[in-house]
Symmetry: C2
Subunit: 444 residues, 2 copies
């Protein structure tokens, strides 16, 4: 009888024999550390990376000519589909008129108004990455409150922000090992609590020294974890009561609706961050603040004096980024696009749940907006510790390899599946069928 | 008799009356904090920002139809000229085939080999900004040496890297105020010394706890400061002797020659960073390490275990970035391009020095590669403290406004002038003439 390890080995072989070109390219990549330009590109279950030839909408073609239904979509930046002609046209036009000036462009104001109208915050800034945007809002939160501490949720991900590389281990805060070479003890100024734990939230805030809570409205990194009923209302109530700012990072939950999860659910953060997909994968992020926070920032700046060179980001590509965001907000991230994404996600979730029910599998599905996550546990965990307890790395590896060999890409790390406005329902049905077949083929 | 303040006021008026459209746009920008998408865009001498309509090569046209000879070039990202058709074509092509995949592309390896051949480092990674690249090399330097301290030079700029926001004030290290909301005392793990001070360098390294020196080969941020004779040889010798890694950040000195300042002068750092212009202003940076450092990184990673999620950067735009860097290295950053840039810079420097000599002005010119800096002091300072002592903010404001009103842009902050491969000698001559006229028109 074959084991899960045999199954994985067999699927690694299947992948390898179908990808001679990707293998050749991987072997020839010695000028790159680990063979790839960015280390994240190795974080897949395949024995060597898939090398991409091109991608359009929700289909990716690799160097071996293999086509994939792409539910990874670059792990979010390409959430609205690859090579969208609207974006390609805007990028080509702007590249023909200059990409980077250290000056605003004639279209800047229109983009600011689009952001304000869509997401409701009074004042905006543009950054190069969501990491940069999160660094900026954390700094400002500390500056305007005069408090040192920030509060995050165990298992969160807010980019490469040192302050957020703290996790709970056996209930105690620890610096994450992924922050190689870190010499600052982040646990001194970052408090970390389990998501969905109202008592822990009350305890963490009541000391009155927390500048800000930095949260995703739904946790999406340590598997997907939805807020429990009433959690967001309580979070807002407690932060307001204790004078703590509430920052929502919508980089991943932007798929929830045209104004993100906060828009769909009427949440009112003080500061708002969204990255990656807002510029269609052109490196950019935006952050916004309420009028009240803006006034407090003005006051802090007046106190501190001029200069904020430590806040912000590179000016590279500023004109290109304006053109990209404008096109995304006006032509790509439309109500119709969201309607398709949400319908598709509902179809996927229904399909996966039907497979689970039909076959009585001990699995469940988490879902937010256009994102769904298949969890190999009968109940969706409520926090990162519970999620870690049910995470089965061999099962994940087997599942990812199996899907790739069926021509389906989902995000690596866990089982995140993302529906773009260009994802066909036929592709969704193929994914559901592949999951059903996986459950059959898996060694018992 | 008019004063310098009258002169500045008069030139602000001249600017304002010539820019009704930019004024209108500045007044309508209330959705942006401070009226602009990125706060850096306000850091000019003008009473409100110039709004850009388009730019080609080294000419920028603003919303009022005013044309400028652009010696700022986006403050470096557009160093090789705006809207270069080679880059625009590559960007348009890749945007039509997808910008962001979380996977390498079929062209990745060629780009890695181009970087290796040009800059000589054995292994490379791509980041989104030079800040991210510097964060990565600092982390790795600490990880492989097991040491906490890094050493920087007073007045340096290496992006938005917290570790580098330390300066000397009255000879004592202090955290810079520009790092608003910082709650970590960076002086505990960052040592800062004056540039060109060999005794200070010896003292700072001899304790044996410095992981790395992070340096620009020529300081370019606190005004431009060249290394004194023998300084780089001694820096290399001392870092090697004390087991300290030497990191060169060539983001600004890339204009020195096809392989940067290190290439021209035969310097051999352990780690190498270059940002901005390497992708023609598409947000990207690259960092490389020697084979020896790569082996030590492997050993450190084996010790620490898998995962390096705290190092690296966003994956956004990874395919676009590959296409951009490839085009820059093969079609734009050519030997012929550098020959023109260096000839143009020599013409500019000669012209400025002739003006200074002819008129017996108490000024001097610093020069590295395609960058020149006019310093309002008779001798070029040797370190940041001396530079700060001669910096006259009113003179800078007067000079910048005057040039802008003559249709010439130079980088704000100080007097940096950058020659692109597309900068005409006529534009250089106009700049020199404007400087001569400025010296005449300046209130005595």
């Amino acid at each position: 009888m074959s084991t899960l390890h045999d199954f994985i080995a067999e699927h690694r072989e299947i992948f390898a024999s179908a990808h001679p070109q990707s293998r050749r390219l991987a072997e020839a990549g010695s000028a790159w550390r680990g063979g790839v330009p960015m280390h994240w590109m190795r974080d897949w279950a395949t024995p060597f990376p898939i090398y991409v030839a091109s991608a359009h909408d929700a289909t990716l073609i690799d160097a071996d000519g293999v086509a994939y239904d792409d539910f990874c979509l670059g792990d979010t930046p390409s959430m609205f589909g690859h090579a969208r002609p609207e974006l390609a046209a805007a990028v080509a036009r702007q590249a023909g008129e200059g990409v980077s000036f250290m000056l605003p462009t004639a279209r800047s104001n229109a983009v600011g108004e689009l952001l304000r109208r869509r997401f409701g915050m009074a004042q905006w800034q543009v950054a190069t990455t969501a990491s940069d945007a999160n660094r900026a809002v954390i700094r400002w939160a500390r500056a305007i409150t005069g408090r040192d501490q920030i509060l995050i949720f165990d298992g969160c991900y807010h980019g490469m922000v040192d302050d957020c590389f703290v996790a709970l281990k056996d209930g105690k805060p620890v610096n994450k090992a992924g922050l190689i070479g870190q010499v600052v003890d982040q646990t001194r100024t970052t408090r970390v609590i389990p998501f969905n734990d109202m008592a822990a939230l009350e305890d963490a805030l009541k000391t009155g020294d927390v500048a800000a809570v930095l949260a995703e409205p739904v946790m999406t990194n340590c598997g997907m974890i939805a807020p429990s009923p009433g959690y967001h209302a309580r979070l807002r109530e407690l932060t307001q009561h204790h004078g703590t700012l509430l920052i929502m990072d919508e980089t991943h939950t932007l798929s929830s609706g045209p104004a993100g999860y906060c828009g769909v659910h009427g949440l009112s953060p003080d500061m708002f961050v969204v990255g990656k997909a807002i510029a269609g994968g052109i490196p950019a992020a935006v952050w916004g603040v309420t009028a009240e926070v803006a006034a407090r920032m003005d006051a802090a700046q007046a106190r501190i004096g001029p200069g904020q060179s430590g806040i912000g980001t590179t000016l590279s590509g500023n004109a290109l980024v304006m053109a990209a965001i404008e096109t995304m907000l006006t032509e790509v991230m439309t109500d119709a696009a969201y309607a398709h994404m949400l319908d598709g996600a509902a179809r996927l979730v229904d399909g996966l749940r039907a497979v689970i029910a039909d076959k009585a599998l001990p699995w469940s599905v988490a879902h937010v907006g256009a994102r769904a996550e298949l969890i190999f546990a009968p109940e969706a965990p409520q926090n990162a510790a519970d999620m870690r307890a049910v995470l089965d790395h061999d099962m994940l590896e087997a599942f990812h390899l199996y899907l790739i060999n069926q021509g389906v890409l989902i995000a690596p790390f866990h089982n995140m599946m993302l529906i773009s406005p260009r994802t066909g329902f036929d592709a969704i049905d193929r994914l559901v069928a592949a999951v059903a077949q996986f459950s059959e083929d898996l060694p018992k």
